[in-house]
């Protein structure tokens, strides 16, 4: 199940850890740009992967307010609830 924020956050962490360049000690509070060293394009491309897993689309303007993995999970959960 990936319907609540905690589950979505866990799923995002798992996907991120599939990338060997991502630090091993990330948590839901890790900051995507600062702690993961993702640039804007990397963030957009990563979000695309998550979108497919959850079958949602995240408009780009929503990404502007996202700092941490938990923020992203919250945003995805809200969009998923909206689209349901």
């Amino acid at each position: 199940m990936t319907d609540n924020v905690a589950d979505i956050s866990q799923m995002i962490l798992q996907k991120l850890l599939e990338n060997p360049k991502v630090p091993r000690d990330i948590t839901g509070d890790s900051r995507i740009v600062e702690d993961l060293a993702f640039d804007s394009l990397a963030v957009m491309n990563f979000v695309m992967e998550i979108e497919d897993t959850l079958d949602v689309s995240v408009p780009l303007d929503k990404l502007a307010d996202i700092r941490t993995i938990n923020d992203l999970a919250g945003c995805l959960q809200a969009i998923k609830a909206e689209q349901a």
């Binding site: 640039d39 394009l41 491309n45 695309m48 497919d52 689309s57 408009p59 780009l60 689209q83």
Partner: protein, 399 residues
């Protein structure tokens, strides 16, 4: 204490300084002291082969365009000093719009002062905050910026992937706002060609209009040079075509062509159209002359295709990693920035100028040596460029 204006540049400054420390010259500050022809310019005091322009048909050096510009400047002066909405339209603006509409077989054309503004001005006028845009992930910055200016919700779909587009459109089936799909004909960084015919099938199934930017494909592809839509025989189903004068036409400016009669309303709400000076007469006159050359000299396109195929084949023969599309933009993909910097510097030192494109401005986070070929290149010039690439690739153990 508040932050300084340039504090935010700390990371950029660090990256820039590292880059400059690793490169004997600034890759973003190359000075072409003067062009000797379309294909050769003086850089660092020596003759250099130009493989880093967008001058696909060589028309920036067209005698007809030059003479038309001189005549226009002599008879009308060199500027319009204002926007068309506030300060008036010159007859030449309308003449060029009529000529473009005729070339594209559309009812209307609207011209802008740059290609960047053509996307900004068209996209921001077509959609607003209640609407949704579907952009190819590899879209040009002018498309992203136009989308942001519009305030519409922006949804990216995977590059050149009609199935991915369809999936994302389907997710918005309950949306009450208007929707618009945007793709390009040829992608400027990689030379990839869009599957427009397949995008048209998607747009028809979901009844969503389609805007295509043919900036790099106009004058280049299609039986009459109208671009990828003409080549793939799907022009009639494309609602808006945007383009530029600064590639195959060799001047500066941009346009949108369409059959929608609302174009005169767009003129009244497109800020990048309304609040900027219109194109000066000499540029319009030169563009009209270049447009006529595109129409009357199909041999330029044929030569360009042959040259593109020769450069593409040459790169493959020396083991370089390029896209499989044969288009006038051919990008050599490298693995990391130090390798790309060394390669690019060695090319320029050996007399071949290409564009260095670094992440995140590149699609898959790898650096590119972006090359563009012209109809004006001779086979000998292309072969010399390939040989130089091959020698450097061996030295750097790239190929």
């Amino acid at each position: 204490m508040s932050a300084g204006l340039f504090d935010k540049y700390a990371t950029l400054r660090g990256n820039y300084e590292s880059l400059m420390a690793a490169s004997p010259r600034n890759p973003f500050g190359v000075v072409i002291e003067r062009p000797l022809s379309a294909t050769v310019g003086i850089i660092e005091g020596r003759e250099t082969l130009l493989f880093g322009t967008n001058n696909y048909l060589g028309l920036s050096q067209s005698n007809a365009a030059r003479d038309a510009a001189i005549h226009a400047a002599q008879t009308m002066g060199v500027g319009t000093t204002g926007s068309r909405i506030a300060n008036g339209t010159f007859g030449l603006h309308q003449k060029l719009e009529h000529a473009l509409a005729k070339v594209f077989q559309r009812k209307h054309a609207m011209i802008f002062s740059t290609g960047y503004q053509a996307n900004l001005g068209t996209i921001s006028a077509l959609v607003n905050k209640d609407d949704t845009l579907f952009l190819d992930a590899d879209s040009h910055a002018s498309i992203y910026d136009g989308a942001r200016l519009s305030g519409a919700q922006i949804i990216r779909f995977r590059h050149n992937d009609p199935a991915d587009l369809e999936k994302r459109i389907a997710r918005t089936s309950n949306s009450t706002g208007a929707r618009l799909i945007i793709a390009e004909g040829i992608y400027s960084m990689t030379g990839n060609i869009a599957p427009l015919k397949e995008f048209v099938e998607v747009k028809k199934r979901h009844n969503v209009p389609l805007l295509v930017d043919e900036a790099h494909s106009f004058g280049v592809l299609g039986a009459h040079g109208r671009g990828v839509a003409e080549m793939q025989n799907c022009e009639a189903d494309i609602d808006f075509i945007v383009g530029t004068f600064s590639k195959s036409l060799g001047t500066v400016g941009g346009y949108c062509v369409t059959n929608h009669d609302e174009i005169d309303l767009i003129r009244l709400c497109s800020r990048p159209y309304m609040f900027t000076a219109s194109l000066p007469p000499e540029i319009i006159a030169a563009t009209l002359a270049a447009l006529e050359e595109i129409e009357t000299k199909p041999e330029l396109r044929e030569k360009l295709q042959k040259n593109a195929a020769r450069l593409h084949e040459g790169f493959k023969s020396v083991g370089l990693n390029t896209s499989n599309f044969i288009s006038p933009v051919i990008a050599v993909t490298l693995e990391d920035i130090p390798q790309a910097l060394a390669f690019w510097n060695a090319l320029l030192a050996a007399g071949v100028y290409v564009n260095l494109s670094l992440p995140p401005a590149t699609p898959d986070n790898r650096p590119l040596l972006r090359c563009s070929v012209m109809a004006a290149h001779s086979f000998d010039e292309i072969d010399r460029a390939v040989e130089t690439f091959g020698t450097i690739a061996k030295e750097l153990q790239v190929a």
